[in-house]
Subunit: 209 residues, 2 copies
DNA sequence: CGCAGATCCTGACACTGTCAAGATAGAATG
DNA sequence: CATTCTATCTTGACAGTGTCAGGATCTGCG
């Protein structure tokens, strides 16, 4: 159904999906233009009719990924009820869940060359940031978050979430040494929660009076 | 002096330096084996007598980078005097300063394929982490840092520092919109400080009683 | 000196991204 | 319906890459 051999119907979408499949199977560095063409069952130069070059393909994949990410984040915040503090936490948790659930895509989205060369990707990433800023501002209006400038708090919250997720994805924050591989995911989410509450409450001993 | 044309003296070191030069000039993705061979003034297959393959070269560069990083961090902590809290902050600041001062090398050190394929790089990164853990533990012994498990606090501190630095290097946390390019560095350090103190004190409003 | 081994170079192979030219399908026009 | 047009896809080629095999050259030891 809907695969008329020569004129493919919607090859652009098919190439994006094929790229997703390749990147999740073989990692970011295994993603090549010819590989996604093979995966899509098409000739090696066919992608050039839908993307200017390889960079344009991964750019489109990254933009799509960020769009899905902001959808996850806003949905998580909406579903979290009236408490703005748990809403903020759930937003962060959604960020972590997305990254841990699509590790290779997340790595692709954070490729530095995209940040340097693609304003579209930067804008898409900023959109995810804006969701966090909005959640922080709501928390401040509700009186559960300190500070006057929401962007200041959002910067540290974003830094913490992004940092812990990156470190987890790169395997540098395994909970115990030598945990069974199957239990990694639950351990990862526990580490994320731990970091989220600790960055909310702080860890510097408050001097009395 | 010390450049006997054929037998190069210390080509291994020269290749590492050439790789550093190439990576800072052309970025991580411009770093190729043939490029560093050209930079070192040597033939395109010469590196194979000192490194098993390209991955081994960038692995060695990353390990070297992490060694320099831990040196910077420990030195900063030692120079910070007796106050364990400022010692902890200075350790984080040193991390940020290294990353912002060697952006491309920092990006190379954080390449995900290294984390997945090279235990040596993971160990080198963990060594940097251990410096932070030690600083946190010292702060706890001095009574200026909360918590019992130093690794828990160190995880969030590391996450915050690493996160803010990564976001800054990728240009996602510019202070004001459209700051002059020359002032970027000072703005970046201010953002780092802001995040460090905020993650230390926390931003959740404490409910009285 | 003469040899052994380390070090470097040349040449080749498979692979990649990219472009040019030709083949084929569906759409528009008569 | 027949014809032409255009977008789409394929084939073939080129430069550049990582990598290996084989030959050339230097250094140190006997």
């Amino acid at each position: 159904m809907a695969k008329p051999a020569y004129h493919h119907g919607d090859l652009r979408r098919a190439l994006l999906d094929a790229g997703l499949a390749v990147v999740e199977r073989e990692g970011v560095e295994g993603l090549g233009l010819r590989a996604v063409a093979r995966e899509a069952g098409v000739s090696h130069a066919a992608p050039y009719h839908h993307f200017a070059d390889k960079a344009a393909l991964v750019e489109a994949m990254a933009v799509q990924g960020f769009a899905d990410l902001v959808a996850d984040m806003t949905r998580a915040r909406e579903l979290s009820g009236a408490d703005e503090l748990t809403g903020l936490f759930e937003t962060g948790r959604a960020y972590a869940r997305f990254a841990l659930g699509h590790e290779e895509l997340f790595r692709l989205m954070n490729r530095p060359e995209l940040r340097r060369d693609s304003p579209a990707v930067v804008a898409a990433a900023q959109a995810a940031y804006d969701v966090l800023v909005a959640a922080v501002a709501a928390g401040q209006r509700a009186g559960v978050v300190d500070g006057t400038d929401p962007r200041s708090v959002a910067r540290t919250a974003w830094s913490a979430v992004h940092g812990v997720v990156v470190l987890l994805v790169d395997g540098l924050l395994a909970e115990g040494p030598g945990e069974p591989a199957g239990a990694e995911r639950v351990g990862a989410e526990r580490v994320v929660d731990e970091v989220l509450v600790l960055v909310g409450t702080g860890f510097v001993t408050r001097h009395p009076g």
